[in-house]
Symmetry: C2
Subunit: 102 residues, 2 copies
């Protein structure tokens, strides 16, 4: 029940977090999926990979393939444009967040 609610409210927020993560270090899909799940946030693989593709189309992220233990991973990292978008999104998120906690 809380799961559904959290999802309705925070899926968009999770997408900001993906950009943020990719700003700190290159990330790949499964990693972020599992990490989010660990903290009680869920995003389906369908949405997750689609989000990566969308961000790449918008020029927020670029990816590079790496072979890790014989498996291909696509590591995404942020671009200049993505960093600008992230800053804007964070700023707006902060505004709303402040309104929640003032």
């Amino acid at each position: 029940m809380a799961d559904v609610m959290i999802h309705e409210f925070l899926l968009g927020f999770i997408k900001i977090y993906i950009l943020q993560f990719a700003d700190k270090e290159p990330v790949y899909g499964k990693e972020i999926h599992d990490q989010l799940e660990e903290f009680g946030f869920k995003i389906s693989f369908g949405t997750l990979y689609n989000t990566f593709h969308g961000f790449e189309e918008k020029g927020y992220l670029v990816h590079e393939e790496r072979n890790v233990n014989g498996k291909i991973r696509k590591y995404y990292r942020i671009t200049k444009h993505g960093r600008e978008a992230l800053a804007t999104a964070k700023g707006k998120a902060r505004e709303l967040f402040t309104a929640l906690y003032e």
Copy 2:
């Protein structure tokens, strides 16, 4: 451009804000729509009224009709159950927010 992005990221967050607002004082649709717009957040009337109805179905809000200057407004206020949902959502939002700014 920023508008679209903000929306993709923050629509869910805006819904938490609606609950929060209804926790402080009774609110009606147009009021919150215009107030959000003033701060650069947009939510369509379709989504907004649908959100009110959904929250009422879930038992988060109840409404009461008031005649103001000869016009009917539906003022929504939060319920006990809604307050619990709000607290949960705010807690989770804080977790994500903290991750963004640490």
